[in-house]
Symmetry: C2
């Protein structure tokens, strides 16, 4: 009996040691984006460019710290996206673009590749960090997708932090709206027509997660919702293939079910992450006229970040590596 | 010169004749559903059963008539879905279930397999036929997805018919809400927990289309949106594979991107329509706990209508055939 107990204890100890050791050497990775679009180097001051790189690095380091501590990919993508939401440089949370009515209406989504659980919200106006609400929908409601005032009622029940809508205001986005109104176009020809932020991550347990958050399109009307909260279009994660977060002209990303299409090509057609992401962004979307890009990570920690626009604010950071960030094509 | 002209004219005439002749003999097909769920034969009176069969037949015949006249699959699915929306037997349009607040909030989507254009709306309360609004979004807006009051503002601009919200009221659905409230559950244990209506069609030009419309879930809260307006989940069409309209526990259908997954298995993994639809509904969804079914048609006019629930109101009608309708498994 004592022998049996000892054997069991030794087995458990060894089992745990082995598990911890192998988890410590398993790869992990995080990638983030801060939107894609028509960006010209000419319009970008060195100071502004540095600010974008610094913001992307801060988000990457926050997510990387979670993963390095053995945290989950869900915690990592939320940590990274919160930072980008709070940064007025990006079209999500603070710094979101304005609707035609002069409001900020925010969309976000998150997906857990281990369980295929997902949470999405659209058209909230007072939740400081929409990604926190999307996560609460996934974890604390029987639903996947909540919108508008109903979503905010749920946020209040969950005690998700609210802010005065003025929190989201930035002069730069307001001026973009005024230019768009003057031009009577549905979006301004400003720097980031399709701004969005997002993160994808692989954690040491081999679990993938994706998160995306956006203010949508400047001067948007009629309660327009883009691809971000459409699970499969702008946000998707499945441990069997990849975690994907998209940024671009949302209507095209919805029609091509972009994020799920990349995952499906890996799972059903044997493509690598790089092949699948490249085919969908650089071939399918280009043929169909859909401008933008994606960030994606697979279960081996490979990262792919193709985009067919002039630029995409982007970066990645792998286990033990340094953050790598970029804006333009080269 | 005269010879050349004559040759061209003869060629054109022959070409046209051939084209017309082949269009006349090309297959066309339409399928419809009126929701899936836990239905017991015991709870179904013969009179009620006849009413369901008659309603499905009427919808099929309306769509078939459009296709037989050489009309488009888009016109056919809209004709069929409008009839089901107006029929109080089904949870869409008139007869929609009530939200926790005692309102009818309607969702709908449509997709054109030839162009991959799509239109979707969520949470409208005064548009008589949500499918007409979804189509207007697809054809007359630069967007794919509009929600709430914004979607209704667009409907007003397009002169889509409005009704007083009382139009949607039926005593049966109100009683279902009262039972759900009494039981403090998010849906009533009534006959059709996941009611939805939908249609898929192949027209003589070889174009596919899908349309879906729903009142959602009895006693739904927080602005809950299901799979219907999520392109790729409840509604999808691509001439390269299939047109699919789903009905079931929407959250599971969103997470599995059901309609696009069926199309992707055909396009990427060489499955037939029957194989792909069966795998996703009877294997993937069953493993994940997602109750419901789909109707699907491919470019050859094959129809598949698998469901993993007790029953699904369903039917199909092929070129030159009679309408075939069914409710239970056998």
């Amino acid at each position: 009996m004592v022998k049996l107990l000892t054997a069991i204890l030794v087995f458990m100890a060894l089992g745990n040691t082995t598990a911890f050791a192998s988890e410590d050497t398993r790869p992990f990775a995080i990638a983030v984006h801060g939107g894609a679009g028509t960006m010209s180097r000419a319009a970008m001051t060195p100071e502004r460019e540095r600010a974008y790189h610094a913001a992307l690095r801060t988000a990457l380091q926050a997510g990387h710290a979670v993963l390095a501590d053995g945290g989950t990919s869900l915690d990592a993508v939320v940590a990274a996206v919160r930072i980008l939401e709070d940064n007025p440089l990006f079209n999500a949370g603070r710094g979101a673009v304005f609707t035609a009515e002069g409001r900020n209406e925010l969309d976000a989504a998150i997906m857990d590749g281990a369980t295929l659980n997902a949470g999405a919200i659209a058209a909230v106006t007072r939740v400081r960090n929409p990604i926190l609400l999307a996560r609460a929908v996934m974890e604390h409601s029987p639903h996947v997708f909540l919108i508008g005032e109903g979503a905010e009622a749920f946020a209040a029940e969950r005690e998700i932090p609210f802010v005065d809508p003025r929190w989201f205001h930035t002069d730069e986005r307001w001026e973009a709206l005024e230019r768009a109104r003057a031009a009577e176009i549905s979006r301004a020809a400003h720097e980031i027509p399709y701004g969005t932020v997002g993160a994808v991550a692989l954690d040491r347990s081999g679990n993938l997660a994706a998160a995306t958050s956006t203010g949508g399109m400047t001067n948007k009307r009629w309660g327009r919702v883009g691809d971000v909260p459409v699970i499969g279009a702008g946000t998707y994660a499945d441990n069997a293939s990849a975690a994907v977060s998209a940024t671009g002209h949302g209507e095209y990303f919805i029609r091509s079910v972009v994020a799920h299409e990349i995952a499906a090509r890996m799972r059903l057609a044997g493509r690598t992450l790089e092949q699948a992401a490249h085919e969908v962004v650089m071939e399918v979307l280009v043929e169909r006229g859909g401008s933008g890009g994606v960030i994606a990570v697979d279960r081996h920690g490979n990262v792919s970040m193709p985009f067919n626009s002039d630029g995409m604010y982007r970066g990645y950071m792998k286990s033990g590596g340094e953050p790598v960030t970029a804006i333009f094509r080269d």
